[in-house]
Amino acid sequence: MSTAVESQPLNAEPCEFRDQCPRECCPTDTKGQPVTGRRLSDLRPGDLASVCETCLDADDANLLRAMGLRPNATLRVCRLGDPCIIEVHTAAGGGCSCRIGMARELASRVMVVVGATAGPAGTSDTKPVV
C-alpha cells in the first residue's frame, strides 16, 4: 500500500512506527523521501484531514481501506479518544459519507495530513469540502 503523496507534511517529526512498520508502508513523497504525516489520534475534533497512510498489518489496513479509509480520502474527526470516530467523505459529496469508529490503537497508526482537500481516492484532484 506504499503510496506516493504530494501533500506537505505539517508535522516535522518522523513517523514513530517506521522501525516496526509491518509492511514498510510508511509513505514517501515524489522524491522518495519519507512523508511525516500526523497521527489521526493527535488531531482535534472537527479537524478535516486527508489520509496519507496506515501503518497497520495487512488485514487491518485492508479492512479499513475497504470501509472507505483510502489514501487521500478526506475525513472529519467527530470524536477523539477511545473510540476515535471519523466521518469519511467521498467525491460524491453531499450526504454521501460514512462514519467509522475505531480503537485509539488503530487511530494512532493512521497517518493523515491536516486541512485536506477532497477528491477521488488516490488522485490529486481537488475539490473543497467543508
Binding site: D59, L63, G93
Partner: protein
Amino acid sequence: MSQAPSVSMGERRSAEDTTPRRVALVGNPNTGKTSLFNRLTGLRHKTSNFPGTTQECRVGFMGGGSRGTIEVLDLPGVYSLELAQGESEVCRGALAGTLAPAGAPARAPDAVIVVIDATTLARNLLLAGEALRRRLPTLIVVNMIDIARRRGVHIDAGALGEGLGCEVLLVSARTGQGIDNIAGVLDRAVVPNRTPPGDQGEIERWAESLAAKATARTTETEQDRADRRARTDRMDHAFTHPVLGALVFLGVMAGLFWGIFSLATYPMAWIEWIFAELGGLVQRVLPAGILFDFLSQGVVVGIGATVVFLPQICLLFFVISLLEDTGYLARAAFVMDRLLRPFGLPGHSFVPLLSSHACALPGIMACRAIPDRRERLATILVAPFMTCSARIPVYALMAGILFPGSPGRQAAAFIGCYALGIVAGVLSALVARRTILKGASRPMALELPAYRWPNLRTALITSYDRGRSFIANAGTNILLICIVLWWLGAFPHVKPPARVEELRGVAAQVEAGSIEPKVALERAGVEAKVGDGSTGGTPVPRDQEGAREIDGPAAASMILERADELEAIDAKSRSFIGRLGRLAEPVFRPIGYDWQLSIGVLSSFAAREVFVSTMAVVVTGHETTDDEKILSAVSHASRTDGTPIFTVPTAWSILVFYVLAMQCLPTLALTAREAGGVRWAVLQFAWMSVLAYLGAWIAFTITS
C-alpha cells in the same frame, strides 16, 4: 472494458431444466440487505451454515420470475470480496460455485444482486465492481433511496447503469418501494458489458468517479447537513463516553433483560400449562406402563423442555434486532470493548455473555455477531460459565441450607455465585486466548450506521427465524437427551422392596376394616396428618392426636402414599442412573458427595435444573419441588446412619460445583454446531468439569 454475451438470467437455462434458479445477494454490512431478503422471500427461508465454517447463510425462495421459483442466498455482509476474512472467503466461494450452504448443491449462482446503500455510494460501488468482475448476470439494487432523498441526495439510475453496464434499480426495502420490480428486472439481468479495473487503486478511483457521476444533485443545504452532523456527533459522544456511555448501556441492558424476563414469564407459563395438560391427557388416555412413562415423562417433558425456552430466545433476538437497527449497538460495542479487551474478548462479546445469564443457548447463538473467529470461539467456550436461570433452583436450595433464616446472607451467596461465574468465564477466555486461541486481539473498527427508527418487520422475521432455527437444531437434541435421561432413571424395572409390599398389605387391611386406622398407621410408621392426605399436609401434634379421628380410607391413602414414596426412592437408587451414582461415588467422595448426591450430580449432567427434583425423588420419593415442605425435607435429609446428606462443606462444594460445571447437554450440542466441530464441545466440557471439580474440592476442604 470488454463486451459480454447478452444472455439474460431467464434464458441461461433450457426449458427442461426445472431446478430453481439461484441468485446470490451480496452487499456491505448495514446496507439493508437482510431487510431486502426478507421482503423478497417473506417467511419462505431457512438459516444454515456453510459446511466447515461458522458463517451462516440464509436461503429463501421468491416467485415472480418467468421461470418459476428463484432460490435466494443471503451471503454475509462484506466490505470487499478480496479481504482475508471468513465472510469474504465464503462470498468468494459461493460466487465461484465452490461453496454452498449445507444441504444445497455447490454451483455458481445464475445471477447476483448487489445491494448498495444510496447514502454511501462510492464505498459500496467498490464491492459492486468486484462482483461485476465475476462475469455473472448482475442486478444492482440501490437501497435506502428514501433516506438518500430525505438527505437531498438524488441518484441517477440511468447514469449508474450506463457506468456499470448492467440493470440498476432504486428501492427502499424499508418501505417496499421498488421491490415488486426486482423479479422482472432480475429475469432480464445479463452479464455486464463492462469490466471494472482489477487494481485496488484503480477500482477505487473508478468507484469514486462513477459515484460522482451518478449522484445527480444534492439539495440538502449546508446548514441542514451541519445540523444533522452535530446531532449525530452529540449522540455518538453520549453513547461512547466512558462513563455516560456505560450508564446508558447498563440502563438499556437492564431494560432489555427485565423486559425479556418479565414478558417471557407469561408465554413460558402458558407453555408449561399446555405441556402439563398434555401430560394429563396422556395419563387419562393411556394405561400405566412403559409407553405411558415414555410419553408422559420422556417425550412430553422433552418437548416441553425445548419449547419453554422459545419465548426467551424469540424476545431476545427481537429486541437485539430492534437495537441493532437503530444504530445503537455498534456504539455500545465500543463501550464494552474497553471492559472486555484485557481478557482477549471484543466488545461484541458482551451481548452474548449477558444473554447467557438467561440461558446459554441464545447467548451462544448471538456469538454469530462476533466477526473475529478466535474471539467468537473464546466467547462460545466461556458463555456457559454465566449463571443461567437453570442454576437458580440449586443456588436457592444451597443458600437455604448454608444460611437458614438469613435472607441477606442468602442474597450475598447468590451474588457471589454470579460473580464467580463471570470471573471464571473471563479468566477462562484469557487462558484460551493465550493458548489454543492465541493471536493478537484485533483492535476494533466498526462502521457506525446512521441512527434511524428500527424496522419492526425485520425484527419479527429475525425473531421467527432464530426461534425456528433453535427448535430445529437444539430442540431435537434436547428432546433426545430428555428421553435418554428418562430411560436411565426409569430402567431397569425392579420389583418393589418387601417393605413396600408390607405397607400395601396394611393399607388393604385398614381399608377392609380388619385393623384400626391408628394401629395401621403405627405399624406403617406413618405420622397422621391433617389435610388431604398428601405429604404436604400438616402433621398432627402428638398432644392433639386424640382430638381428630382418622378414618380407614384416609389412613389407607396415607399408607399407600408412603409405599409409593419408598418405591420411587428404591426404583431411583436401583435404576441405571442410581447404579452409575454408586459407581461414581469414589470420584465424588473427595468433594463431599455420597452416592445419593452423586445421582443428583449425574442426572443434572444433561440439564442442571433437574438436580433439585432428582434429589427430591432420591430423598422423599416425590418429584414435585413446588412444595416448601419437600424442599425442607431435601435440605434436612439424612443417610441411613443418621448423618445429614447436606452438611455445610457439602453445600459449599455443590454451590461452587454448579457455578462452574458444564451440565447442559443442549449447550454442548449447540457449541459443537456453532463452533464448527465436536472437539470444541469436548474441550468446553473437559475444561469446565476440571475447574468445577477443583473449585468444589477447594470449597469443601476450606469449609470442612
